[in-house]
Every structure is written in C-alpha cells, then in structure tokens.
C-alpha cells in the first residue's frame, strides 16, 4: 500500500489519498493521470490490468486500487 500511495502522491501531491473515496467520480484524477497511474501500477507491481478491471469503482480510492491489485495478483 505504501508503494501505491507513493505513486499517487507523485501524480498529484495535493490530494489526501488516505481519505478521498471519489477520485474518479469526483473528477480528482483526469484521463491522462489515470493512464500514467495504470502504467505505473503495472510496472511497480508487475501485473497487467485488463479491461475488465477498468471500472470507476476500482479507482475511486487508494483502498479500492489496492484491493484490485491484490485481486489481480491472486488471479495471476
């Protein structure tokens, strides 16, 4: 989780990722940031995020992203 928070803070340090639950629906992260985020997550955690995981609910909070990463790792 620490590594994920590091990635997020590097993208936009003005957001409190420990409390924010509406990153996509609340328009905190835009398309380009999400693209960079997905690339960074894939490289850091050595996973591939397939289209079926690309749902707003999986990216609305750091916790949801972390759960998604764990689920993809389990699946792989």
């Amino acid at each position: 989780m620490e590594e994920l928070l590091e990635i997020l803070n590097d993208l936009d340090p003005d957001i409190d990722y420990t409390t924010e639950k509406n990153l996509i629906d609340g328009k905190c992260l835009d398309s380009l940031t999400i693209l960079t985020l997905i690339t960074e997550i894939c490289n850091t955690f050595d996973i591939s995020i397939g289209p079926k995981w690309m749902r707003n609910e999986n990216f609305n909070s750091a916790e949801a992203m972390w759960n998604m990463i764990c689920a993809i790792k389990d699946e792989e």
Binding site: P13, D14, I24, D25, K27, L29, D30, S31, L32, T33, I34, L35, I38, G50, P51, K52, M54, R55, N56, F59
Partner: protein, 498 residues
C-alpha cells in the same frame, strides 16, 4: 440564405419539435423546448441589459444542458455570448469580465458562489429569473453580427478574446455538412467542455442538421470500458474528440471486452493524432470513418480535413489534408506562394469563417488578420504562425509552430503565458517553460530569489490558483541557475534534453 444561427434552431423546432436536442444524464430538452427556453432567456437578458444589444454576456459552462440553452438565449437578446469555465481561477475570470466589460452573466443558482469570488457586480441571470416573456427573433442581427467570443491563451500572460460572427459560423457549418455525410439520425457524443471553442462545432451541427447532442459525463472518460458502455447506451454515432482521449482508449485497449456498437464517425482535432493509436482503432473498428481535422481559434470550426484511408505505418504522420469548401490555404516561403511538395513555409487562411477580431485590440488584429495578395488581388487572411508543406499528393502537412505555442490535451497554450504568470510570483526570479511532447508534460524550470526556500509542490499549488488546470505544469524543477546559450538567452534546447 441563413444569416443568423437562430434560424437553424427555429427550423429544428418546427421540423422536429419533440425530438431530443441536447441531453446530459437524465436531463434533456427537445428542440421545441430549447427554442422556447432560449426565447425566455433572451427576454431575461434583455431586461438585465435594459434593451442594449451587441454586448458580451458571460455564460458559466458546467457540463449540462443549461449552457446550450443560455447561448441561444443570449443570441435571441441580440447580444453575443462568452463561454466561461466556472472552475477557472478567479483572477482569470475577473480579467475576462473586465477585458470585455461584461455586465451580465448567466448560470445556475448553484454557481452564484463563482461570482462572489470574482466580485462581479453586474446582473446574474439564472433559470429561476425567467418569466413567461419571450424575446422575438432579433431582426437587426445579420451575418456580420457577433455570435460568440472565446478567450485563448496569450503570450503576454493575459488571455485574448477572439470574436466570431454569425456569418463566419454559418460559412463553416454549411461547408462541414456538405463535406461529411451527417444525417438527422446521427447522435453526437460531446467530449469538449462548452467553454472551449471546439465545442461550437457540436452545437451548430446539432441545430443545422437536427441531430441530438449527448453530453458525456466527464467521469466516463478516464476508464475506456466505462466510456464505451456509455456510448452504446446512448447510441452515439459521431465523436469529434481530442486525440489524447482517443489515444488513452487505444492504449488501455478495452476492445477485447467491449466495442462501440453504433459509432460511425470518429473525428479528431486539436493536436496530432498518433498513428500508432489510430491504427489500433482502425484495426478494431474498420467500418468507422476516421477524419483528421485542423483548425485555429481565429476561425469558426476547422479549415482542413483528411479522411484516413489506406495503410499507414505506426510512425507515419497524418496530413492535415485539404481545405474545406469555404477555405483557401496558402503556404508562403520567402515571400513566394509555395506550390511544390516538401517546401516548408508559413500557412495563411482565407475564408468567410475567419474571426472578426481580437476584441478591443486593433494592433494585434492588424498584425494577424492582414490583407495579402496570393496572386489574385489582396484578400483578408489569417497569418497562422504554423509552418506547413505539401506532400507528394497535394495534402497539407503540419511542420511546426514558428513560436512557443503548443497543443496540450487539445488546448492551445502559449508557453509564454505560463512563464509570465509563474515569473510574476514573488518566489520565482526567472523561469522557462518547456513542453515534453513525448510524455505530454508541461515542465517549468525556475530559479528562486536569494534566500528563498520553497518546494516545487508549493509552486505548483500557487500556479493552480492562477492558471487553468490544463496549463498548470505537471512538473516544477527548481535550479540554482538556468542554463544560458551563447547569446545569453535561456538555453531551451538544453532544458529540453534534461
């Protein structure tokens, strides 16, 4: 011959009264309702202006149906609209309102806070202030009348207003519809916020053809499967989007799971579409028509188009193509009009769709909208500042800018504007803005005054209060000394290579 865009709306209200005109989520208005609401807004604006005409009226543009109704309302009142980004920094909104002497702004009641922040003392017209009064068709508004004004990035740090007329928009939209096979059964999937110039294409296509305009909620854009699902739900047939959005879709390639089922036309405009990503779209959706558009804020719509046909390698650059029927384009090098292939020169546009002026700036207008003889007598043209050439097939091909203007996420940005704003911060003594086109990142390199200690993130936070979000540098790099070239100027090339 149509002289005023209101005639398009009135025709739609008559031919398709109960057809959905513009929709956002579960809110929608039919063409009859759009016309009716616009006339009522027109009456409210007229009351607020004591009957004055030909003056700018601001419209706060959230993603919603309201701005579209308000635009036509302003036109019914015999005035012109200035689309405003409600999330823009207060200083920018204040500067725009002051520059054009805006005395009326339209918005929703929830947006009244925006006006308090900018100390706006004029009238605020909301849907709640409407009565049953309706404004009739403005008989005095002919083709020369101003239609709307957009503010674009200016190199001095101050945004500049570009004023466009009814006649210019009509010239563009007629040529656009003659060139491309739109029908009233099409459904537009709007991506561009209404405070950007590029959104006007969607709005006037809607009323010219009687096409439904679906505003796609912004939270669907970051994740492509969600976006495509929404396109299918709304049966979108036409998308004119910035390449960044299309590239993100192809980079995250959702097509193995979900494909757009109703999409027939994909146009891209505002920046260069990377061929690699376009090839992914073309492989997955070969039946779709793909068109590269090129335009400038100084004219209505676009002036060139290139329909993508045949095979292109991933590293190919798409041509800008050929002029629309209402435009002539000339490339000029060393004072000569270029006719041969591969000779680079500056591009000039001659068209009825050209903007009227830079508002209240006759010197700048005279510098960019000039009289020039291209071999058949002097004509009014726009000096684009873009360098271009012809390819072997007679297509125009973009070469580069002749100054420091860039395209980022579809927005035209003067790096000089960012430098001017950043340079005015007391914590920065000198700065230089560079665009990393490969990573699509704006970088600001800066020197601090002696003894000043500040973090890069703090500088970014300061810039966020002064610049529109798409102009805020993605990275701020603090340096002891900026590198200089032999002429003593900041060495941009060196910074680019860092």
């Amino acid at each position: 011959m149509v002289e005023n865009v209101i005639e398009y709306l009135q025709r739609c209200a008559k031919l398709f009264p109960s057809k959905k005109a513009v929709a956002y989520r579960d809110r929608a208005v039919t063409f009859e309702e759009l016309n009716d609401f616009a006339m009522r807004f027109g009456a409210a604006v007229k009351r607020a202006l004591d009957g004055r005409t030909g003056v700018p009226v601001g419209v706060l543009c959230d993603r919603d149906v309201l701005p579209v109704i308000a635009f036509f309302g302003v036109l019914y009142s015999g005035n012109f609209y200035v689309p405003l980004d409600p999330d823009a920094p207060s200083e920018k909104l204040e500067s725009i309102a002051a520059d054009c002497g805006m005395s009326v702004i339209i918005g929703s009641a929830e947006q009244s806070g925006v006006l308090e922040k900018i100390s706006f003392s004029g009238a605020f017209v909301t849907p709640e202030s409407l009565t049953d009064d309706k404004c009739p068709y403005p008989v005095s508004a002919g083709g020369e009348s101003p239609l709307y004004m957009v503010y674009t990035s200016g190199s001095t740090g101050k945004p500049k207003g570009v004023l466009k007329s009814h006649g210019a928009e009509i010239s563009f939209i007629e040529a656009y519809c003659e060139t491309f096979d739109f029908t009233e059964d099409d459904i537009i999937g709007n991506q561009t916020p209404f405070f950007f110039d590029a959104a006007a294409k969607d709005i006037y296509l809607m009323v010219k053809m009687g096409i439904t305009l679906e505003i796609i909620p912004s939270e669907y854009f970051p994740l492509p499967p969600e976006l495509i699902n929404y396109l299918n739900l709304k049966k979108i047939t036409f998308a004119s989007w910035v390449p960044t959005v299309l590239s993100i879709v192809s980079q995250l390639n959702p097509f193995s799971v979900i494909k757009p089922e109703t999409l027939k036309k994909v146009f891209f405009v505002g920046e260069v579409m990377p061929m690699k990503h376009l090839n992914t779209w073309r492989r997955e959706l070969p039946h779709v028509q793909y068109v590269n558009l090129y335009g400038q804020s100084e004219l209505c719509g676009v002036c060139c188009y290139y329909e993508v046909k045949g095979d292109f390698p991933d590293d190919a650059t798409l041509p800008m193509g050929r002029p629309l029927k209402n435009c002539e384009i000339y490339i000029v090098s060393d004072g000569e009009v270029v006719k041969e292939a591969d000779r680079i020169g500056e591009m000039y546009i001659v068209s009825d769709a050209l903007a009227t002026e830079y508002y209240n700036d006759p010197a700048k207008t005279a510098g960019s909208f000039i009289e020039k003889d291209f071999g058949r007598g002097a004509v009014r043209c726009f000096k684009t500042g873009d360098l271009a050439k012809y390819d072997g097939e007679g297509n125009l091909v973009f070469a580069s800018r002749s100054d420091f203007q860039i395209k980022h996420m579809g927005h035209r940005i003067e790096l000089g504007e960012i430098e001017a704003v950043a340079g005015a911060l007391p914590v920065i003594s000198r700065c230089c803005c560079i665009y990393d086109a490969e990573r699509k990142k704006i970088k600001l390199f800066c020197e601090l005054p002696d003894g000043c200690e500040i973090k890069d993130s703090e500088i970014r936070s300061m810039l966020k209060t002064k610049l529109s979000s798409y102009m805020v540098p993605g990275k701020v790099i603090i340096m002891d000394k900026l590198p200089l070239n032999p002429n003593g100027k900041i060495d941009r090339q060196k910074l680019k290579n860092l």
